[in-house]
């Protein structure tokens, strides 16, 4: 694969038990579908753990950003478990700390504050995506 065809793989927490899992997942979708659709992609996190060859190849061949929803850090750990170092690991809680006025609530659907937080957080992560893309090109 040539460098110009590489994409940044964004892997969020997959949890359905906590709001911050949803925040992580929504940040990933905001990046992949709206902010940086041409240079980002994702895959299903558990595929890495069942040793799915396509998922492993995607993560091995491309820079990876993880966004974890809880201190267990499953997204980052899942990537590291197959011998890949993440390019950048985020924790959803840190975005909440930066934007204390935006308190996310909800799991299936975030409240308005949560949606605003997602947009701001995704803009921050998009800057890292741009940095990784430019690194790959150079």
């Amino acid at each position: 694969m040539s460098s110009s065809k590489k994409k940044v793989v964004v892997l969020p927490c997959s949890g359905i038990g906590k709001t911050l899992g949803t925040v992580g997942r929504e940040i990933a979708y905001e990046l992949i579908e709206d902010l940086r659709p041409r240079v980002t992609t994702t895959t299903c996190l558990p595929l890495l753990m069942i040793e799915d060859p396509d998922a492993k190849k995607l993560v091995t061949d491309n820079p990876v950003i993880t966004i974890d929803g809880c201190p267990f850090g499953c997204a980052r750990k899942s990537v590291e478990s197959i011998g890949v170092t993440v390019s950048k690991g985020y924790r959803a809680i840190d975005f909440c700390k930066t934007h204390r006025d935006l308190k996310p609530e909800g799991i299936v659907e975030l409240n308005e504050a949560g949606k605003k937080l997602v947009v701001l957080a995704a803009q921050e992560v998009a800057e890292e995506v741009d940095r990784l893309v430019s690194e790959e090109k150079s």
Binding site: L11, P12, C13, S14, G15, I16, G17, G21, R25, E26, A28, Y29, E33, T42, T43, C44, L45, P46, L47, M49, I50, D52, C70, F72, C74, A75, K77, S78, S81, I107, V108, E109
Partner: protein, 134 residues
């Protein structure tokens, strides 16, 4: 002595890359919050796989219902490997095919097709929970 089962663990596919993954998550939450609250708990699949001790212990002692979005069956395979055979394994594509539901497109949020699919799958999960509790 018969021991009454009080809780069932739902292990949902997380499937960020598939519309069926979103349907799985939303349907599982509907069962947890609305259809069978108090009788079900969620088991976080990535944490379960990544070595979550509590998740694995729960799944080895209590019945589980796995909900997978695609034929790769990550939830069912992982549960069987790490904690034992699930009481029931559901596969969303099969459920939807039987119900004649197709055309899922969105991964993010629910469109009309995804909403209908989520409700149908939630009912199937609730039935599987009831069977496991019998």
């Amino acid at each position: 002595m018969d021991i009454k089962v009080l809780k069932v663990g739902i292990v949902s596919c997380s499937g960020e890359a598939l519309p069926e993954g979103t349907v799985s998550r939303v349907a599982s939450r509907k069962v947890l919050d609305e259809l069978r609250p108090g009788q079900t708990v969620t088991i976080c699949l990535p944490l379960f796989i990544a070595g979550g001790k509590e998740e694995r212990e729960f799944a080895s002692k209590f019945p589980t219902v796995t909900v997978d979005g695609c034929e790769k069956m990550c939830a069912a395979k992982s549960t069987e490997k790490l904690s034992g055979k699930p009481a029931k394994s559901l596969m969303i594509k099969e459920i939807l095919k039987k119900q004649g539901i197709s055309g899922l497109k969105q991964c993010r949020g629910l469109g009309p097709a995804e909403k209908v699919a989520s409700d149908v799958v939630a009912d199937e999960i609730a039935k599987a929970v009831d069977e496991a509790l019998e």
